[in-house]
Symmetry: C2
Subunit: 186 residues, 2 copies
Amino acid sequence: MTTARPLRADAQRNRARVLAAAERVFAERGTAASTEEVARAAGVGVGTVFRHFPNKEALLQALVVQRLARVAADAREHATSPDAGAAFFDFFATVVHGSGTKLELVDALAELGIEPNEAVAPVAEEVTEAVAALLQRAQHAGAVRRDIDVRTVIALLAGASQAHRYAPDDRPLAVILDGLQGPIAQ
Amino acid sequence: MTTARPLRADAQRNRARVLAAAERVFAERGTAASTEEVARAAGVGVGTVFRHFPNKEALLQALVVQRLARVAADAREHATSPDAGAAFFDFFATVVHGSGTKLELVDALAELGIEPNEAVAPVAEEVTEAVAALLQRAQHAGAVRRDIDVRTVIALLAGASQAHRYAPDDRPLAVILDGLQGPIAQ
DNA sequence: TTGCAACCGGAGTGATCAGTCCGTATCCTC
DNA sequence: GAGGATACGGACTGATCACTCCGGTTGCAA
C-alpha cells in the first residue's frame, strides 16, 4: 500500500505506449510474441518495458486487468438504461462484438500457469458485481430466465466470444441470447 | 500419395506412445511445453519424436486431427439413434463434456500462425458432414430451429466447450441447448 | 538555469528450446 | 540365425528469448 510518487511525464507516456503496443502485438501475433517486438512497436527500448512491468507475466496481467476493467465499465454504463432486458442483452452483445481477442488472454495466462491471482482478482470482482446487477434487474423484469447465476452468464460471455471467432456473424450470439431468455414453452 | 511400407512394430508402438504423451503433456502444461518433456513422458528420446513428426507444429496438428476424428466418430455414432432430436443434443453434450482441452488446441495452432490447413482440412470436412447430417435430421424432426447452419452449430460447440471450462457444470450447456431449440414463443 | 533524481536505450548474459546427426540397438526377411 | 534395413537415444548446435545493467538523456524543482 506504498503510495508511490507520481510518474514523470515521459514515463507515464511510455507506459501507456507499451500497454497499447502490447495489446496490438499480442492480438496479432499471439502471446508468444517477444517482448522486444512489443518494445519496437511501442517505439521504446526493451529496458523501458521491463522497468514498467517487472516481467512478461506482469505485462500480460496488466493487459487482462485493462480489458476486464473495460467490461466492467460497459456493464455499469448499461445499468442506467430504463429497459432492464435490453440493457442486459445489449451489454452481452457489446462484449462479444468488442471481444476481438479479449478472452484469449485469460487463456493465455492460464496456459502460462498463472491462475487469476491477486492482481486480477479485484477487477474480476468488479466485473462480477456489475454483471450481477445487470442480470438481477433483467431477471426481475422477466427478460432473463431465473435459473442461472452470474457465474453462468460470465461463462457464456466467454463461450459466445469464442463462438464469434469461429463464425463471425451474429447467429451464435442470437442462439445464446435466446437461450438466456428461457427454454421454449413447449 | 506415396503409400509407404508399413512401420516396423516398435516404430508403430512409439508413434502411438508419443501421441498419447503429447496429449497429456500439452493438456497439463500447455502447448508451450517442450518436445523433450513430451519425449520423456513417452519414455522415448527426442530424436524419436522428431522422426515421427518433422516438427512440433506437425505433432500439434496430428493431435488436432486425432481429436477431430473422434468428434466425427461421435457424430456418426449418434446418427443411428431413432430419436433425431435426442441424437443431436446428446452428441452436443458428449463433445462438450469430453472436450477437456479439446478445442484449445485449435486455438493453439491458430496462435502459432497456422490456419486449419491441408493436413487438418480433410478431418474438418468429415466433422462438418457428420454434424450436418445430425443437424438436418434434428431440424426435420422439429427439435432444432431451422434458421441455423452447421457452421453456427460448430461455432457453438466451440463456445459451449469454452464456457464449460469457466463454469464446469451443465448450466451454460443447458442455456445453449435451449437456444438451439428456438426463441421462446412469446 | 542549474543540478540531480528519475528515466531511457540497447548491448550483453544465461537459459531454454526446436531440430540434427550418428553410433548403436532392434526388427524382419530369407 | 545371419544380414541388412529400419528405428532408436541423446549429446550437440544455433537461434531465440526473458531479463539485467549502466552510460547517457530528460524532466522538474528551486
